[in-house]
Amino acid sequence: MIYSTWFNKFNSFLLIICSFIIHAQSDVPRPRGVSLSKASLYSPTKDFTCFDGTATIPFSYVNDDYCDCFDGSDEPGTSACLNGVFHCTNAGHRPQNLPSSRVTDGVCDCCDGTDEYATPELCPNTCEELGKEARAEAQRLAELYKAGSRLRLEFIEKGNKKRTEMAEQLSQLEKDKAEAEKIRAEKEVLKKELEDKENEALKVYREEEEQERQRKLEKEKENLIKEAMEHFNRYDSDKDEVLTVDEIKPVNVFDKDKNGEVDEEEIKYFFGEHEKVDKDAFVSTTWPMLKPLLMMEQGMFKPAEEHEEAELDSEAEHNADVDAEYTGNEDNEDADDLQQEEVEEQEQEHESHKPKIYDEETQKLVDEATEARNQFSDAERTVREVESNIRNIKQNLEKDYGLQQEFATLDGQCLEYEDKEYIYKLCLFQKVTQKSKNGGAEVGLGNWGEWAGGDNNKYSVMKYTNGVACWNGPNRITVVNVNCGMETQLLSVTEPYRCEYKIELSTPAACDDSNTSQHSAHDEL
């Protein structure tokens, strides 16, 4: 809601132009406070009917300082009606409409002084002077706009060129993409072919491996049973091939909670509902439960929890790092994806690179397949890179750089502004940041959001949104008022509302002198 005075002045200059016409025919007799356009509604020869039609009163009641009409139409020239409107002609300057409450309140609101008619000495007519000033200011602004608009044309030209270039780049990239995709397809075929061969050759080795694995498994099983039987025999004190409750009671290892005795619960844990277990049941059920306890007792085995936690921690740290990299920079995302995939690939490769010795012919096939795989992933990466470039260019092409692309060349241009405490940086169509002069990190005040000027003048305000969140508050945003100026620079940076920043930017791109009629619609009342 805070308009710079500068901007206000601009508004007023445009209004003056319109006002000269009215001034030329302002001497039609009419009651005080009535504008020319409504003069015909006040006829001294007739009774007066309120505009809303609710009452008809003698004409002498018009401007008699008593409000008779609900709509205030009977008192255009006094303060009697709360909702009335007072019109001052302000000959020599621009006309004004005031709320009736500003009539005869001792404050000079109209430059012709008519609002303070009761005390004419209070408000001398300053319209000529003001009009002159306003015309001079209008002149200055007109010249500024004229000069600025020449630069603006250059901006437009460059902008269009930039866009054309981008469009060309895009079509080139589309071509590159098709090409890259073609290569990728070829490489894929090649890769498949060679991998098939490789698989065939490796089949022998794989079968061997499988057999080896089976052998290992069986051996392990045997060992397990053997070990179990050893223990079974040790606990089976009466050697009746059955383990009873009494037999395990004196055995320490069954005392799971280490309270000095093997109690009911512990027996139930190992034996289930049974009184005793035979060899088979021991091997299949009891032993797997018992073994960890035994190992723990012997100090061979430690609970796994600590280790897991440590892993989780390092993972969380890693994630945090990644988050930090992401902050406010979407472009990084693709790059990151690439990186991650590469890491995974490397890991896979690492696993398959077990020091295995193949015969020469097989080794050759493996090497060829590996080469094909590498070529394929290179081809894939190229496609992704091209696609990413296409996305970026498309994004830029979709950005609204103004009706004539006048803002296009400003994209990515960074401007700085220093005040007592901070250095502010606006990278147009990108982001706004703030950095304390006492050091500390850069704080994001918003990323390019949208044009946010009113219906009449969309390109007068830029909005950068979704900056770093305020303590206990919303995300920071920055509003940039775009003014006509000979140079592209920051005029001021303020924080009128907490965490809402306001930048006054001047740039020739905003010097659109063809479009002035839109501005003049900004009449106050």
Binding site: M1, D64, S79, S101, V107, N472, Y497, R498
Partner: protein, 930 residues
Amino acid sequence: MKSLELILFIFTIGGIYAVDRNNFKTCDQSGFCKRLRSFKPEKSQYTLNLDSVLVHGNVLSAEVNTIDTLTEKKTVLWQYTLRLSALIDGTFRVEIDEADPLYPRYRTQLALDGEPKPDKLQLVSSENGKITIINTQGHKVVITAEPLKFEFLDKSGDVAVVLNENSQLLVEPLRVRREKNSDDEEGNAENALDVEDETAWSENFKSHHDSKPRGNEAVSLDASFPDADHAYGIPYHTDKFYLKTTTSAEPYRLYNLDVFEFELDSPMALYGSIPVMYAHGAKRSVGVFWHNSAETWVDVVNYADGTVVSSLVNLVTGGAKRRVDARFMSESGIVDMFVLLGDTPSDVFRQYVTLTGPAPIPPKFSLAYHQCRWNYVDENDVRSVDENFDVHDIPADVIWLDIEYTDRKKYFTWDVEKFPHPAEMVANLTAKGRKLVVIIDPHVKREAGYFVHEDATDNGYYVKDKDGKDYEGWCWPGSSSYLDFFNPVVSQYYRERYSFENFPGTSKDVHIWNDMNEPSVFNGPEVTMPKDCRHYKSAQDGQDGLASFWEHRHVHNEYGLWNIKATYEGMLQRTNSKYRPFILTRSTFAGTQRYAAMWTGDNMAEWGYLAVSIPMCLASAVAGVSFCGSDVGGFFKYPEAELMTRWYQAGAYQAFFRAHSHIETKRREPWLYDSATMALIRDANRRRYALLDFWYTLFYEHTINKLPVMRPLFQEYPKEQDAFTIDDQYLLGDKLLIRPVVEPGVSSVKVYLPGASTSTLWYDVDSYHAHKANGYFNQEVTISKTPVYQRGGSIIPRKERIRRSSSLMANDPYTLIVTLDVNNTAEGTLYIDDGETYEYRNKKFIYAKITYELNLMSYTFVNENASYPTRSWVERIVIAGIKTPPKTAKLHQGNKQTVLQMTLHRGNDVLVIRKPGASMAQPWTITFTY
């Protein structure tokens, strides 16, 4: 404004909105409260020496001793003196001090508006161990010698107030600190108080140590109010307007504290303390004023309360259920109790203001709308807020600047980057009749080169710590010290800071906000100054050591009062006493009304805080401080549209009408809401401005009749039992009844219309529909409706041309709203002056009485030798409730006679007289024929 949340931000994470109770003491954690609350002797040890009684002038003086009640010997334990004085207007004062205290005990200095005026006192009788005295109004006091008891009788001879009925009179004698196991001359005395508990010579609270160099020095007294239904007063608390029984809860606490995010429905201490209590029943109203500035706790027992054991009730009252007992306990000082004998609510409220002084007529702008925020960040921001009020056609009188306008919290300076041209900024405001208020807190930044700090350090102007060094605390500027206003030299220094020369950029249109003056000390015990800090005491012969200074504990609750007194006098000085100062204070005490307006502190954008603003301001108003309001919209958090709308609508009918908000919250100036909400806010503000002359007249009348501006219903309807506990509606003067909507989403509210027995009519101010008073009824409401009723029989002046600011309305014409009673009569008053100077003291004012009866309406001057050349006139007279309209109306003013036109609105029996045009500078009459 705000409290210590910046400090708290460091320690707390997340936005939890609740008071941290651990920061504040319970009775058990307050040494003397715990000690005294458990002091329940069967029989008082205090006896009056009948032989020593002397009646001279308006004073009865006598010796009072404590005696050992356990033995037959009646050994005298300690000697005291009693002064009982009769004062004008049905008031007595009871003072009990030690006969020969080790050091002088503190007597509160600033609460009273000068020495109370004496009445005459006569000894009626002295027999059977009782003394009876009487004042000129016929109030008797019966003093029983043993145990000591004071019974104050009303004019019909019934007991109205009893002191020491419950044997809780206590003055702990000052002692010399003894080493353990050593005998001294008092060592043999067998007194309950001789058993010194561990807290006698030092106390700890959290990490804070209180050295208590004088040991225990507490005082206590109980007061009983026979026939009372309820007790009221002792603000400020967030509880109901009527006081609750505290037997099984915490007592009400009076100790001025910066309570961050204070909670609702609590007897906890707040920013202000006014130790006056009223008791009211259908039979009479009485009051007591406990004249003490130390930390105070008050227990209340209402015998009608369900929680009071019935056997106790029967024992004490013989079955009668109507009685309230109260007990005041203070950490130090003397027993000094004023007894106000009423006997109507208005009488007793007036009696209190007679003692502590009425509020002077405020500058008129201060009754209008104030726009505040922590903070308007720079001159452009101020200009923009100012302009936006005009763009959106919302009247406003004052823009406020919170602490950020200063050069890094150094008061009496400006931030030269953000406020490089303060004088131009002020001129820009005053061009439209607006004013500026800037904050000046009492803490002083300890920064080398800051002139206030240098002067204060060089000249010893700061409050001292327990060792006599400049006390250092932590507040907004960081390390801070506090000016010792008790020293006349310091107050003079402080007054001079306000001169236009010393505070450049200010003018007569810049007024002052004294915040944080409890005082708030972020790192102090309970966020205030340690009790063993030292204040100035005027030097007297033979008083050295502990007798040469006052401790902060003695004076705490009146620290803020000394602060605003110095500000007030400084602001008078700066214009050679031409213009009236406006000051807002957060800390309050008895007598605050003589200098400043107050607000209820750092509230929250929640419905409960809107609702509690009414009982809080009612309690304030009956305790002398009518100029009370709450932060419209709530200080913490953000009010959504409905709450904001209701708060403006309520605030428009409270004396101090200011929107304010916390620096961390979303901006909320009216135009930042949707246009419908903004229109409702505009409407609320316009209603306030239309009634500004009514408000101004009420504040003028307060200076004459000393009555609250905002009144509880029972003040005007003292016999209506149902009205005794109503605290969600109130009266402005005796003419308007307000029931703000403080509930979300309601389509109707319950409104109590008093005065059924006298056939009172209440006219809805929106429709002129007349309601016959008959207790409760349901008033339908929409979002634009605030139930307000004008009493039949009253005339209220309005100004219906709402300008940008109140001063621009000075010459505007009046609309007189006449609402007829059942006898077709009505009357009202109007006060007019220049609104800002003291010229009214030179008879430059109009105080007019306006009456209406069947054949005649008249506007006459009450003070015939006073006048004011106002250019205002009568543009409209609205007569509501007219049954038979007159045929003709003729205005007579001076030699002129004018026939007036009238319009009758049949639908609601309203007659409008069109444009009488009579000047308000001269009396006039209108005659009617039928």
